[in-house]
Subunit: 116 residues, 2 copies
Amino acid sequence: MNPKNFGAKIRALREAQQISLRKFADKVGISSTYLSKVERDEFPPPGEETVKKFALALNQNPDELLALAGKVSSDLPAIIQQRPREMASFLRTASEMSNDEIVKLQKFVEKMKRPT
Amino acid sequence: MNPKNFGAKIRALREAQQISLRKFADKVGISSTYLSKVERDEFPPPGEETVKKFALALNQNPDELLALAGKVSSDLPAIIQQRPREMASFLRTASEMSNDEIVKLQKFVEKMKRPT
DNA sequence: ACCACTGTACAGTAGATAGTACACAGTTGT
DNA sequence: ACAACTGTGTACTATCTACTGTACAGTGGT
């Protein structure tokens, strides 16, 4: 919920890859100084595009990494805006569901997706 | 999608209420100058809280008015961040659904909501 | 004629977001 | 010993967001 350990996570993943701060910064197109501060959570997480580059370079799910950064991929708000009432209602209902119920819902959606 | 006619909508609704620009501005707690520019789409739509006050004062659905403003209520991103993968997947699937399918999905969710 | 009201033009601003450049200290390899 | 790394402290900065205050011109009523 709070982006308190975003930086720590990035650092851990980067170190697991044995890549230096500077090289990683170059790879994702930011300055090493900035990356240093972000990794120590001295600066807040970077913008959406940069976080997505992190995810790509570190083999992480972009949506999860964005969540850790306290953000969401901007295509999702865009989808909500297509059908604001329905989507808002869905999400608010889903937020009160148990894990079991979420799984049921997922399965239902999966079924609908399959070509009839 | 683009917030091009947000202002025009606000102006139309305000005029339908027969309330002056200044009075409406006071009511929602912004300056009349700002409201003037917003209504003529010379300035982009205001922030989330202000749009919600517009909705309240004009009897509009907040999620719809926010959508017209190119925004989403901040509780929705927060919900997505609780279960980023599931919610992102759900939304991206839902974005490809027909209206019929959305209705079916809504009914399914309604059923789940009912106290067992 | 005057006053109060209508909307608008002009000129700003405080705070947040997403970064940058430069310089430096400590560690490692040869 | 010194070159080439490693990460970090300091000091900015540009752009965006979400507004404000003052002043003014046009319209309507008395």
